[in-house]
């Protein structure tokens, strides 16, 4: 671990970066983000297998960016987020120093987006088996059962927008929910407001979601929001051959097309 | 409340043909390619393109002529017309239809007697044995037509060459075949 701290200190000292976004130990066995700007703060930087939070969202946070050159300790989800954000012109190559944490505790430095792309080709970017199972069990239900399932889940929603705030892809300054002429998405957290909001969010993440799971983790009401976007990953891959967050210059699945895209429901 | 586009007039013959065979008579623009390619057009009183034209008129007189014509029986269903028709009109199906209509209406051309007799003998053979019994067919055909001397010379040679079975082959399920015949509407109406 001292290796990591040493590395962060070196980066800060030689001004490669001004701030390092990493992990530190938080309250009640939790791990949380830290923003090391000096040696003392760097000493708190920590990493182990429990550090699963996707820190990439912080790269777009105004006050974090304000420090200058950023460094980040990334996991696979964060790497993919960086790729996706790059493809949406939110991060430029060379703007961010990326240190990748291997599960075995070793670290890899990525100098450019190209090397991240190459690395991602070799990793498992699929969704976890348990989530696949949950999706499969939902798909096995009747339509009405699914309706009732999500009704119950969305009923809990309090529209705190933690899912949106935690999602690295939800970087819009003004979300559709905040658009009020017309008010496409009801602000109220009633059944319709909640359904509209979550459908809208899932659609806006379709083809962009890098399955980091932050939305579901963030939800104080424990709604399995990640399933909504995860469910769309394989159809998009199968039908359009697109996977989000794999290339810095990728084309968004829903802003391109093939003349012979297959579907079976348009008469 | 929603009246959809349905026919309110009684069906014309051409409507019926369209319903039963899918052939749209008015698709024909009289290019004549069917007649040009038809192997038996020279023997027909109305070559196929003329048949189409006559039907297009919807004139009962023309229809009557067709039903009583030799033309419809001369068609050998070789499908050359359909193959080359630019509008892909299925004239062979139309001919089948006209034959069946003529036959049911008992308007068949007297000269077609031999052809029909042959077909009937053929079907009888199937009805009786389940398969075609060629010898029986010929005998039956001759009985029907009275053409006793036709092909007499050829039969012994065929027999020698093993081409004529002296006894019919009966299939086990020939009652089933008979049942099929019995279920056919025409049979019920005594028209077959």
């Amino acid at each position: 671990m001292s290796e990591l701290i040493k590395k962060v200190k070196a980066l800060l000292n030689d001004k490669t970066i001004n701030v390092f976004v990493g992990y530190e130990k938080g309250s009640a066995d939790r791990i949380r983000a830290c923003f090391a700007r000096n040696e003392a703060q760097a000493n708190k930087v920590f990493f182990d297998a429990s550090c699963t939070q996707n820190l990439a969202g912080y790269l777009l946070k105004h006050e974090v960016k304000h420090f200058g050159k950023l460094g980040i300790l990334a996991n696979v989800a964060a790497l993919r987020s960086i790729m996706q954000l790059a493809s949406e012109f939110q991060i430029k190559d060379g703007e961010v120093y990326v240190l990748f944490a291997n599960p075995d505790g070793t670290f890899v430095e990525f100098n450019d987006f190209h090397s991240i792309e190459a690395y991602l080709q070799t990793t498992d970017t699929g969704i976890k088996a348990e989530e696949q199972e949950r999706i499969a069990s939902l798909e096995a239900m009747s339509n009405n059962e699914r309706w009732l399932f999500w009704n119950k889940e969305f009923e809990k929603c309090i529209k705190c927008y933690a899912c949106r705030a935690a999602c690295p892809m939800c970087y819009c300054h003004r979300c559709t929910t905040d658009v009020n002429q017309p008010q496409w998405i009801p602000v109220a957290s009633h059944e319709r407001g909640n359904l509209d909001y979550h459908l809208m969010r899932a659609m806006h993440l379709a083809g962009r979601c890098v399955n980091c799971g932050e939305c579901a983790t963030a939800c104080p009401m424990d709604i399995p929001l990640n399933l909504l976007t995860y469910q769309l990953i394989s159809p998009i891959k199968e039908t359009f051959g697109a996977t989000a967050g794999m290339k810095a210059d990728a084309t968004y699945a829903l802003s391109t097309y093939k003349p012979d895209d297959k579907e079976n429901f348009i008469i | 409340m929603s009246a959809s586009h349905e026919h309110i007039h009684p069906l014309t013959l051409n409507d019926e043909i369209r319903r039963d065979t899918g052939v749209i008579i008015n698709k024909c623009y009289q290019c004549g390619k069917c007649s040009a390619g038809c192997p038996v057009a020279t023997e027909m009183e109305y070559p196929p393109s003329l048949v189409m034209r006559m039907l297009q008129t919807e004139d009962p007189l023309h229809v009557e002529k067709l039903l009583k014509s030799m033309t419809i029986w001369l068609c050998v269903s070789c499908e050359m017309c359909l193959t080359r028709c630019p509008m892909e009109i299925d004239i062979p199906s139309l001919m089948d239809y006209m034959r069946q209509k003529s036959y049911r209406a008992k308007k068949t051309n007297p000269q077609a007697k031999k052809i029909i007799a042959f077909h009937k003998s053929f079907l009888d053979s199937i009805n009786y044995t389940g398969r075609l019994y060629e010898m029986g067919l010929i005998v039956d055909y001759k009985m029907r037509t009275g053409a006793m001397m036709q092909d007499v010379a050829i039969a012994p040679k065929m027999f020698v060459k093993g081409k004529l079975n002296p006894v019919p082959e009966f299939i086990k399920g020939r009652k089933k075949i008979a049942a099929i015949f019995n279920k056919i509407q025409d049979k019920k109406e005594g028209k077959l």
Binding site: G57, G193, A218 | -
Partner: protein, 341 residues
């Protein structure tokens, strides 16, 4: 009024709920929903999760729900016709099994909504709520009620408070008129409590971690300490989870929902943590960055409310810290403010 002490058998709790229900009172109580605990209407005791440390959401929804209609209106050629909600239509409701911090949270809300012009929606609903709190036998590291003047057996805001004193028995404190009135419904189930029951023996031990008056002073003085607020809030992602689970947060928004003919005006929760909370029509946003919003949240509770309403806007329940997706721990932050020299 003088509080009365009674004893109730655990085994009579089902009957209690039955009584309330048979009288037509809706009963709101903590209900387990997977990993979260909601405050919801219940029909029987079995639905109630009495063993949980704390419900995920606070009890404030009884008087200040997340969505609340305040007006119906009709759009016609002749103009707009309004049909206000009938304030008398609210039902007498029993809040059952909530924690002392939930009950005392209403103190802050009363202060906020009781300011002129008085908020009749809240006040009427609150007036029709009777609160039966359960004192806390356990606490966790997020709890800091004792640091803000509360405690696991604090009775502020409760009409009745139940404390488990043995496997079978509950000590019932009848604290208010409303409590008395309600307890009459189950007087037959109550027995007289012997004197000398030491309630504190049955309560959780929650350590005081900071001096609230000191924190209030230092908070007020730190308005311009930008580095402090930035340092504390770098992690904050600006969601509203903290505010929406908070028993004292009272910010709200009005939204109209309508079609071309009819509409309703709704009151909805809002949060000062949202970036658009203070966005002006001009495009100017006085709290442009998250650190300013975080400062607002802390100052509102620990500077402005004490100054203007004479209450601290925090009950130390720690819900905000538990709900925070990025581990913003308010206890920790307040402690560090308290430690400023």
């Amino acid at each position: 009024m003088e509080k009365e002490l009674k004893i109730l058998k655990y085994s009579d709790l089902p009957k209690l709920i039955e009584r309330f229900r048979s009288q037509g009172f809706p009963v709101l109580a903590p209900v387990r929903k997977g990993k979260v605990v909601e405050i919801e209407q219940v029909q029987t005791i079995d639905e109630i999760a009495l063993d949980v440390l704390l419900s995920t959401q606070s009890a404030k929804k009884a008087a200040f729900p997340k969505v609340e209609k305040v007006l119906d209106y009709t759009l016609a050629k002749s103009g707009v016709t309004q049909q206000p909600v009938d304030l008398d239509s609210f039902q007498e409701t029993i809040l059952f099994g909530v924690r002392p911090c939930d009950a005392s949270g209403f103190k802050s809300l009363d202060a906020i909504f009781g300011e002129e012009p008085k908020d009749q929606f809240y006040l009427q609903k609150k007036a029709k709520s009777t609160i039966i709190s359960f004192s806390c036998p356990v606490a966790d590291e997020y709890c800091f009620c004792t640091s803000v003047g509360g405690g696991p057996g604090n009775t502020t805001g409760s009409d009745l408070q139940f404390t488990g004193i043995s496997k079978d028995e509950i000590l019932v404190e009848i604290l208010t008129e409303k409590g008395t009135k309600l307890s009459a419904l189950f007087a037959d189930l109550l027995s007289v409590a012997g004197s000398g029951i030491d309630k504190s023996k049955f309560l959780a031990d929650v350590k005081v971690v900071f001096d609230v008056d000191g924190v209030v002073k230092k908070t007020t003085a730190s308005f311009n300490n930008a580095a402090l607020w930035l340092d504390q809030s770098l992690r904050c992602i600006g969601c509203g989870a903290c505010a929406f689970v908070c028993p004292t947060c009272a910010c709200f928004d009005f939204q109209d929902e309508q079609n071309t003919k009819k509409g309703v005006r709704l009151r909805l929760w809002d949060s000062c943590g949202f970036s658009l909370f203070t966005l002006h029509t001009s495009g100017h946003n006085p709290r442009e960055v998250q650190s300013q919003r975080w400062r607002q949240r802390i100052l509102h509770k620990f500077a402005y409310m004490p100054e203007q309403l004479h209450v601290v806007g925090c009950e130390g329940c720690g819900r905000c810290s538990r709900a925070c997706p990025v581990d913003m721990n308010i206890k920790e932050h307040l402690t560090s403010i308290g430690a400023i020299v």
